[in-house]
Amino acid sequence: MNKINLKPDLNALKGDLLIAAKLTLICFTAVLLLSIVHLLTQGSIDKNNRKTEDMTNRYLIADGAKFEKSYFADPSVHADDEYYFIVTDSQNEVIGWTVSIMTNGYGGAMKVMVGFDTDLIVKNAKLLTNSETPGVGKEAERDEYMTKFIGTGSSARPIPTKKSMLAQSDIDTVTGATITFNGVSSGIVRAASLLKSELTKSNVTDATSDEQEVSE
């Protein structure tokens, strides 16, 4: 009767462990190198991102004189990527808001910035960071792509979330890149809903503090 050898082959195990250790060392060195380059370049990358954001703000609401950055009170929102700007004119009157929101497209995470007027109607939108396919989903970066969302957001004209809600000429711009369209539209809808709840909360807080002042 053949006996099953349960004793492990120590030499083979040692060889495999050595291979794993070598590969780990290569990965560790790569991470170290990347961390150093990241430290050296992060400042410039952040500066470029801020510049892009500033330009986008001015593109979304051209009348804005001042864009003040604020964060959503909702704890579920990732404050590093999702926030909003209060847009005021030269007389310091609030004329709208721009919201930076993260959403998902065909190539993964996408950053969309949306401008709203005081009635929470979409003034304009812009697709920023994304990894969409060039020539297909990447076309959403074009200014003309966002015209289908401009003026939407009211109950009479809701933000389009399906192809069937678009005009024929707009359907043509979306065909072949439906996932990108779904990502952009859901991002805009989420931006509108976050901004609405944020403004409702701040209105409630303002009203409460006014009542307290009166009672005092």
């Binding site: 070598k22 990358i45 990447k138």
Partner: protein, 256 residues
């Protein structure tokens, strides 16, 4: 003759060895430029070649980025060839190549962000560019650092040259000029500003727009390959004729 004398006789003189080594290094460098050009002869890395050559500025950026990654990865892989276990060499190569590509991406995002935006997804895709993995597997993993460096330089320059050729034709004919705004420069137009040739108020010619599109890339690339094959045929034919006339002359000489 003693054994020592025999050994001394077989030994290549230091000067000859240096000349041979220099000749080999030169060969490793020049082969990538013409004889084994990665894009036009080996037909490798065509996805990025065809995709980014709509603009000369893209071709320059992509060419420099790929050459940098190729040089760094070839040198490191060659230096570590005794250390990297054969069983896991491909994952190890990919880690090394991906690290250098990420470094390039971070540098471009930090200092030439317009170019990084223009090249987009094609920068991360250098990781799987078959020229880089091909050179790592076929050359750097088997040779010393210096020949690997020369091989990477030659292949990188060959790749950049072929992309530039394609981009010069495509952008020149489709936009009637070259746009260098990604580098902070302006538009170099053939027709003194604008992208349409206007004579007495009438738009005469606006460029061959299809050449700026993916279909145009394939068309121009096909024409370049056809031209190269035609030149090769002419050279081969002239060599054949020469050797034929040489044989004939030799035969006549013998007969005479």
């Amino acid at each position: 003759m003693s054994i020592k004398d025999k050994q001394n006789k077989n030994k290549i003189p230091a000067k000859t060895a240096k000349v041979q080594s220099d000749g080999r290094l030169l060969h490793e460098f020049t082969k990538g430029l013409f004889k084994e050009n990665p894009s036009l002869v080996l037909l490798l890395g065509l996805c990025s070649t065809l995709a980014v050559t709509n603009k000369v500025s893209n071709a320059i950026g992509m060419g420099i980025s790929t050459t940098f990654v190729l040089i760094c990865s070839n040198c490191i892989i060659s230096a570590l060839k005794g250390f990297i276990p054969d069983k896991v060499r491909i994952p190890a190569y990919i880690v090394i190549v991906a690290s250098f590509v990420t470094i390039v991406e971070m540098i471009l995002n930090a200092y030439i962000s317009a170019l990084a935006k223009s090249l987009g997804i094609f920068i991360p895709l250098i990781v799987v560019n078959c020229i880089i993995l091909g050179r790592a597997e076929a050359f750097a993993g088997k040779n010393d650092v210096l020949p690997s460096l020369m091989d990477a330089l030659g292949m990188g320059l060959g790749f950049t040259m072929s992309m530039l050729l394609l981009a010069f034709i495509r952008e020149g004919l489709s936009s009637l000029g070259y746009d260098f705004s990604d580098y902070g420069a302006g538009m170099l137009s053939f027709i003194g500003g604008g992208d349409t040739l206007v004579i007495r108020g009438a738009e005469v010619f606006g460029g061959i727009k299809i050449l700026g599109l993916p279909a145009g890339a394939l068309f121009v690339f096909g024409l370049i390959l056809a031209a190269i094959n035609a030149v090769k045929d002419i050279i081969r034919q002239s060599k054949k004729n020469k050797s034929g006339s040489g044989h004939k002359a030799a035969a006549e000489g013998i007969n005479g």
